[in-house]
Symmetry: C2
DNA sequence: CGCCATCATCGTCAATTAGCGGTGAAAATA
DNA sequence: TATTTTCACCGCTAATTGACGATGATGGCG
């Protein structure tokens, strides 16, 4: 059924894109972080509210937010003493685009 | 700029979808597994060829393939003594769909 | 039957991650 | 200036992951 014998010599890899997609995926690879993003998808949100929605310690939620921020999924706008976190839709779009470009057709 | 004060009481979560997306992401969260999928995206492939392309030990590649198989990204068709691995495009499509449904708009 | 090639699984070790409490910085407000 | 609230960061522990070599199972082939 599947075609298994072919020439692999001419295969070339986009190492940067591979790392980028893996990095996005790593940031998404935890249910609590998905939950965070779904809350943020409905609009910006204070950290204290997120802690309440998640049911985890403040320090844990802060760490998840840091990971999401580093990956580019979340924007943090400081309004002391609060911070307003929001979803960066372009990061989601980029992740979807990479999936399509690299793994479809 | 961002709207941070809103009513969160009416938020409901799809726990199953959150876990599903996180599980897909976890499977993708390693450059070696992305590399495997990109090779497979060009057609089915023998495990021994994948080992060569990856430059990792056979047991390591086998473990990555197991993770991808469990997540539904890869199909394994045994043709003793070989096995032909191939990409399951519907899993990629599903991952993209979940991203769109849960995190866009 | 014995050999060979291929792939999965096991045990092990090092590195990473998830979770928590505690601490500290920052600015609005009293 | 002292207080309060909010959030980031540190240090710690337990659990998970990634990588490897070794071993084992499987069926084709000599």
């Amino acid at each position: 059924m599947a075609e298994c014998l072919r020439n692999l010599d001419e295969l070339s890899f986009d190492l940067a894109a591979e790392k980028e997609l893996a990095y996005y995926a790593k940031a998404l690879a935890h249910p609590a972080r998905i939950r965070l993003l779904t809350v943020l998808a409905a609009g910006g949100c204070l950290g204290s509210d997120l802690v309440e929605q998640l049911g985890l310690a403040q320090s844990t939620v802060s760490e998840h937010l840091r990971i999401l921020r580093e990956a580019g999924f979340v924007h943090a706008e400081v309004q002391h003493p609060r911070t307003c976190f929001s979803l960066k839709p372009e990061a989601v779009a980029r992740a979807r685009e990479l999936l399509a470009l690299m793994l479809e057709q």
